[in-house]
C-alpha cells in the first residue's frame, strides 16, 4: 500500500490499511504532541490567572464586554458543523463519497464542540457559579431564564455534543469489533468491551441500519438548529450590526464553510502520512473543494445582503456602525475577512486547484482565518461603535486573551492527535460499502 496504489482494494486490504494507522507513531508525532501540550499548559495558566485575579486580566472593557472568547467560541461551534453534516445529511442524500472522510470529520466535530464548550466557562465572570444556568431543583426555587439566548445555547450545544457523540460511537461499534478480532491481549479485552460484543449478525445489522438512519434524520435538523441558536445570541440583541433576521442562515452557512476547511486541514495530512490515497481519492478532494466553493459563494451573498440591508434600512445608527467598521480602526480585520472568505475560495473554480492538496490546504487555512475574523468583526467592532457615543471604544487583546485563544487550538489538536492513534480514523465498514462486494462468478475475471 505504501506505494500509494490506487486501484480498488479488497475487503481484507481495507482492514489491513486501517489497522495500520494505529501502529505506534514516529517522532514527528511526538514532537507535535509536545508542542501542543506546551501551548495547552499556557492555556490553563492563563485561565487560572483569570479566575484568580478577575476578568480584567482579559482585554475586555466597556463597550466590548464580549470579545475574543465569544469570537473563538462561535468559531469552534462553526467548525463543529461539518462532521455531523457529512455523516448525517450526506448520509441521507446517499452521497457515497462521504464514507472515507466522515469518521475523521465526526471526531473533529466532537472535539471542536468540546473546545467551544470551554469558552462559556472561561468567559463567565464567576465561572464557579456557571451551574446557575442549568435547570436543577434547588432550595431557592430559582430557575434559569428560558427566554435568554444563552440558555438556548446551553440546551442546543449540550444536545449537539451528546447526539454527535452517540452518532460517532454507534458508527464506531462494528469497527471496534473488527479491531477486537484483529488484536490480542489487553487491547483485545478493552476493544471487546467497547464493541459491546458486536458480531455483525443479521438482526444486529437490521436494527443498526434503522437506528443509524433515524439518528441521521434527527441530527440533520439539529445541525441547522445549533448554529441558528448561536447566531441568535447576537440577533436577539439590540446592538447595531447584530440585530438582524439574516443571522441564522448566515451563520449556518459560514459554519459549514469553515467546517469543511477544517476537515481538509485534518484529512490531507492523514492522507499523506497514512498513505490513504486509495480511500481519500482526488474525487473526494474535488467534492470537498466544490462544497467550500459553493458555501463560500453563498457567504459572499450574505455579506452583500448584510451591507445592503443596513444601507437600505435608512437607519442612521446602523449606517454609522457599518461605515465605521469599513473605514475605521478595525477595517483591516474586515477586509482580511472579505479576502479570505470571498476571494480566496474563487480559485477552486478550477478543477486543477480542487484536486491539488497544496492549493486546497492553503485555501482552507485562509478560510479558517477569514471565518475567525468574521466572528471578530461581528462582535468587537459592532460593540465598539453602537448606540451611545460616550462609551465608544477600542478593544486591545491582552496576553491572557491570546494565550487562551491559541490554547484552545492546542486543546483541539491534542484531542485529535490522540484520537487518530487510538481509533480507526476511517470507517472500515463504510469504506467496504463503497467497494463492490466479492462475487465468485466474476471473481476469476481478473
Amino acid at each position: 500500500m505504501s506505494n500509494g496504489r490506487t486501484s480498488t482494494p479488497s475487503f481484507a486490504d481495507v482492514n489491513r490499511d486501517v489497522l495500520r494507522t494505529l501502529e505506534p507513531p514516529g517522532n514527528l508525532y511526538f514532537a507535535w504532541m509536545c508542542f501542543v501540550a506546551l501551548l495547552l499548559a499556557g492555556f490553563f495558566f492563563a485561565w487560572a490567572g483569570q479566575v484568580w485575579w478577575g476578568m480584567g486580566m482579559a482585554g475586555k472593557r466597556v463597550p466590548q464586554m464580549w470579545a475574543m472568547y465569544i469570537t473563538t467560541f462561535v468559531f469552534w461551534i462553526g467548525i463543529g458543523h461539518a462532521g455531523t453534516l457529512i455523516s448525517a445529511i450526506l448520509y441521507l442524500f446517499r452521497a457515497r463519497w462521504r464514507t472515507s472522510i466522515y469518521r475523521g470529520a465526526e471526531a473533529m466535530t466532537i472535539f471542536a464542540v468540546m473546545t467551544a464548550g470551554l469558552f462559556p466557562l472561561i468567559h463567565a465572570g464567576r465561572m464557579w457559579f456557571a451551574y446557575f444556568l442549568l435547570p436543577y431543583a434547588n432550595q431557592r426555587y430559582l430557575w434559569p431564564n428560558f427566554r435568554s439566548p444563552l440558555v438556548w445555547d446551553v440546551f442546543a450545544i449540550s444536545t449537539y455534543l451528546s447526539i454527535s457523540t452517540v452518532f460517532f460511537i454507534v458508527g464506531l461499534v462494528p469497527d471496534i469489533a473488527a479491531l477486537r478480532d484483529a488484536s490480542t491481549g489487553w487491547r483485545r479485552r478493552i476493544f471487546s468491551m467497547l464493541a459491546l460484543g458486536w458480531e455483525g449478525s443479521d438482526t444486529q445489522w437490521r436494527h443498526y441500519r434503522r437506528a443509524y438512519g433515524l439518528l441521521a434524520s434527527l441530527a440533520t435538523p439539529l445541525v441547522l438548529s445549533v448554529h441558528s441558536v448561536v447566531s441568535w445570541d447576537f440577533a436577539m440583541a439590540l446592538v447595531p450590526g447584530w440585530h438582524s433576521t439574516l443571522f441564522a442562515p448566515f451563520f449556518v452557512d459560514g459554519a459549514i464553510f469553515s467546517g469543511f476547511a477544517m476537515v481538509l486541514i485534518l484529512i490531507l495530512p492523514m492522507r499523506h502520512f497514512f498513505h490513504l490515497h486509495a480511500y481519500v481519492t482526488e474525487k473526494h478532494l474535488d467534492m470537498m473543494g466544490k462544497l467550500i466553493l459553493v458555501t463560500g459563494l453563498v457567504l459572499t451573498y450574505f455579506y452583500i445582503c448584510e451591507v445592503f440591508t443596513s444601507l437600505y434600512s435608512g437607519e442612521h445608527i446602523e449606517k454609522a456602525s457599518l461605515f465605521w467598521k469599513v473605514t475605521a480602526t478595525y477595517a483591516w480585520a474586515l477586509w482580511t475577512m472579505y479576502f479570505c472568505n470571498c476571494v480566496a475560495p474563487l480559485v477552486l473554480f478550477w478543477k486543477r486547484a480542487r484536486t491539488s492538496p497544496v492549493v486546497l490546504y492553503v485555501v482552507s487555512i485562509l478560510v479558517l482565518i477569514g471565518m475567525w475574523f468574521e466572528r471578530f468583526n461581528i462582535i468587537v467592532p459592532s460593540l465598539g461603535h453602537d448606540f451611545y457615543p460616550y462609551t465608544w471604544g477600542i478593544y486591545y487583546p491582552s496576553p491572557t486573551d491570546s494565550m487562551i485563544v491559541i490554547g484552545s487550538f492546542a486543546f483541539f489538536f491534542l484531542l485529535f492527535l490522540g484520537f487518530i492513534k487510538l481509533m480507526p480514523s476511517l470507517s472500515i465498514v463504510e469504506v467496504k460499502e463503497t467497494i463492490p462486494p466479492p462475487v465468485r462468478d466474476r471473481a476469476h475475471g481478473h
Binding site: W53, G54, M55, G56, K60, R61, V62, P63, M65, W66, P120, H123, A124, G125, R126, M127, F129, A130, F132, L133, L142, W143, P144, N145, R147, S148, P149, L150, V151, V154, D233, M236, A237, L238, V239, H316, I317, A320, L383, D386, F387, Y388, P389, Y390, T391, W392, G393
Partner: protein
Amino acid sequence: MNRRDFFKIVTVSGAAAATGGCQQASESILPLVVPNEHLVPGVASWFSTVCRECPAGCGVIARNREGRVVKLEGNPDHPVSAGALCLRGQAALQGLYHPDRITGPQVREGSAGFKAATWDAASKTVADKLAALKNGGKSRAIAVVTQLENGNLGGLLDRWVQALGARPRVTLEPFAYESIRAANRATFNRDAIPYYAFEDAEVVLSFGADFIETWLSNVSYARTFKRMHSFRDGRAGTFIHVEPRQSLTAANADEWVRNAPGTEGLLALAILRAMVDEGMADRRFGEAAASVDLKRAADETGVSVETIKRIAKAFGHAKPGLAVGGGVSVSGTNATQTQIAINLLNAAAGNVGKTVRFGADSAYGKVTPYAEVANLAGAMAGGEIEALILGPGVNPVFTLPSGLKLADAIRKVPLVVSFANVPDQTSELAHVVLPDTHWLESWGDYSPREGVVGFLQPTMSPVRDSRPMGDTLLRIGRAALGVEEGKGPIPWPTFEQYLKGAWAPLVKGDLEGALRRGGVFGDVAPAAVTAKVAAADSTPPKLAGDAGGLTLLAYPSLRFYDGRSAVSSWLQEAPDSMTQAVWDAWVEISTDTAKKLGVVQGDMLAVKSPQGTLELPAYISPTLHPSAVAIPMGHRYTPYQRPRYVAADTKSVNPMDLLPAVADATSGGLAFMSVKVTLTKLGTRRPLAVLQATHDQDHREIAQHVDLGAAREQALRGRPAEEAHPTLYPDQKYPGPRWGMTIDVDACVGCQACVVSCQAENNVPVVGKASAAYGRQLHWMRLERWAEGKPEHPANIFLPMLCQHCEVAPCEPVCPVYAAYRTEEGLNGQVYNRCVGTRYCGNNCPYHVRRFNWFQYEFPAPLEVQLNPDVTVRQLGVMEKCTMCVQRIIAGKDRARDEKRAVRDGDIQTACQQTCPTQAITFGNLKDEGSGATKLTHSPRAYHVLEEIGTRPSITYLRKVVRGGGHA
C-alpha cells in the same frame, strides 16, 4: 454625657461592609457596655455640622451608623447650601478616612524623618520652645497661620496669640478676592465682599467669575443662578460670560464671549461706554469710561463692537442685572481696576442694593491680606521667626506661588508645628506634627456670611489618635505661660468649653436645637452704599516671562479647590466636566498652538516660566484663546494618594511652581495671572484618561434642546397627547408605586456632585487611571458633556446619565439567570449574588450604564469603614448598576409603615437628587399624578434618551432651553 464615650461601640456593621459573599471567620459581636439612647445599632443617626473643605461653609448633616459616619448630605435648614452639597463636600469622607491620615503626634528626628511621640512629649517640645521665646522677650518670633477661621476657634487663637504676645494670626486663603474688597473700598467705600443676589437678576454678566466651580460660594451661587436662569413658567434669565477659556461656568452661559486674557476691565468699560452712549446709564458714568474707544477696545479685547453693544443693551435693559468679576483671568496686576469697572457697571445699571447687597457680607472679607503673608514669608526668610504654628488646611508651600520661596523660608524656622491631619507639602517641613481632628470630628463654628453662624459638632469619635487644635494649643499655651488650668488669660480646659461659653448668648439656652438646626441663622439689614464714580484705568496686566510666550491661566479646580481636597480618590476619579479627564493633570492648549507645536492630546509638553518648568500632557482645546495656556490648580496625586492608583510621579504638576510672587498693584492681593510661559514638545507621551469618547452626539439627539421662544409656545399649548406604544404583550401592572425620575437638563450645570454622592452612597469603588482610561470605571452615574455648533465656540449641554430603568429593558431578557429583572415597583433589579457574569446585559444596554467588576477592588483601611452598610459590596465578576437607591426606597417605605401611612412624595430622595445644588433631579412615584416627578413628565420639554429604540425608560429628561436661534 462624655461625648468621647458616646461612640465607644462596636457592632456587626463590619459584616455588611465585607465583600459580597466572602468567607468570614467566626466573628464575635460586642454589645455596648452602657446602653445608649442616642444610638441603636442598625439605625442611622444624623448630626449637623459645617463643611470646611472650602471657606464657603455649607451646612452638612452626617449620617452616622454604628458610630461611623457613612454619608454626608447638605443641611436643608442651612441658608447657604439649602440641602445641597458639592462634590468636594461629598468627598470630605475620604479625607476623614484617608489611609495616609496621620496616626498620632509626630516629632522630626533630624533628617531621619518623623517619629511617633506621645502627646505630652510632643506638646512639651513646643511649649518649652515657646516659653523660651517668651521669656527671652522674643515672643514676636512666634507666628500662627491658619485657614479662614472666623468663628470662635479664630477667637480663641487670637486670645492665645495675645497671651503669648506673638505676631498677629495670619489667616491664609489662596483665593482671597482682595481685588473685590479693594474695588468696593474704592467705589462703595466699604471693605467687604457683598452678597450677590443672582436669584433676583434678569441678566447676569460675569467677567471670568467661575461661580459654578469655586468663586466665593459655588453651591449657593449655582443654586441661585439656576433659580434665575432655568426656564420656569415661560420666563428665563440670561447669562453672559466673558472669559478667555471656556470654563464650566462659561459652558453654562447663554453667550460665552471669548476675550483676550486680562482685557476684562477694558471690556467692562467699553460696555459701560456703550451703555452711556445708548443712554441706558447716567451721563456721570461717562467720564469713567471716557478714555475708552469702542473700536480700540474691540481690537484689544478681540470682542467685536456689535457684541459689546449687544451686551450693553442686554445688560442695560435688565431690571435688574448683575455684573460679577473673578476667576484667574481677573486676577492680574490690574484686577482691582477691573473690579472697579465692574462695580461701575453695576452702579450704572442701578443694581447696587438690588442684586449687589452689602450687609450680608462674605466671610472672605476677613482673610488676612496677601501683603501680610508676604511679610511673614520675608520675616521667616530673614530668620525673624523662630516658631511657626500651622493650622490644618493650610498648605502654603503648595498653594502659593513658588516665587514666594516659602519652602526655603520655612526651612529657616527652627520650630515648625503643623496641625495637619493628612500629610502635605508643608507639614513635611514641620518639626512637630500635632494632628488636629478632622472637621467631622470637631467642635467649632463658622460664619460663611454675616448673620449666618454654622455650628460644628463631632459627628463621630476620631478615626486616628488626633486632638482638637484648640485643646492642644490651650495646653501648650498654659505650659508656655507657666499657669495651670483655670487661671491666666487662657483658662479654659478645652476648646469645647470655651466654645459653649461663647455660644451661650447666641443660642439663648437652646443649644440642642441650634445644634440640630446646624447653627443660628438670621438676616442682617442691608447696608446702603453710594457709588463713587472715578475713572478706572484699563491698562492690561503686567506679565513676567518671555514676552512672546503664552499667558498662563492657572485656574482653581472645581474638584480640588486649591489642592486641599486632592487627597480624595473619589475626586481624582470624578471627571473634570469639560475635559472629562480623570486622575492626571494636564496643560490645556489651543488648537493653533497644538498645530504650531505639532502635538496631539497626551503628548508631553514642557511648560517653562522664569520660576521653573512643569512637564504635563497636552489637552488640546478648540475653545481656548490662542494667546493662553491653562493648567488646573490643586492636582497633587502623589505622594498623598492611596491606594496608588497612579504610578507614583514625584514631578510636580502644580502650576503654582510657575508663578512669580506678583501682587495686584492696587489691592496688594495675590496675582494668579502673572506670567507668560513657553511650551516645548518633549517627544514622550502620557495619555490622559478621558472618559468620554467624543463630545459629538452624531445626530443621535441624546441631549436635546429647545429654543426659548418654542419653549414658551409649548408651555402655553401644553404637551401633545402621547401615542400609545404598539405592543402584542400586556403592559406591566404595578400593584404598588412605580418609581421614576425626571432630570431637567436645563437646570443641570454639570458640577459632578451627583456622581460623587452616588459613589459615596452605593459603595462604588475607585479603579485608578489605567482602568478608567480603558473604559472600566464603575461610576453608576456619569455626567456627559455634549457640544454642538462651531468647535471653537460650542454650545454645551450637560447630561447626567444613569440606569434608565427601562420598562422594556434590553438587559433583562438576555440574562440567563434572572439576575437582571423588572421589580414590581418599576425598577430594573440587579441581584449581585445571582449574577454569573456573562456580561450579555452590558452589551445589550444601549446606554452602557451597566458596570462590571473586572477585578476585586480594594477599600484600603480605614476607607472600608465608610462603606454604606445598607448596600452590598460587589464581588469580582458581577454586574452592577444604578439601583435608584433601592435601599433608600426600602427605608422610606419602612418609615411610612412605622407611621402607618402611605409613602408621600418627597419622603424618598435618591443620593444624586439630594445633593444636586440646582435640584435638576426629581424622584417620585409615576403612578401618583400629584407627585413632582409625574408632573414634570407631562412637561412639553420632556423626552427620553434614544426614545426610538422603544426601551420606555422610567427616567425622563427635560430639554435644555437655549436662547437665540439654537444657540445653547
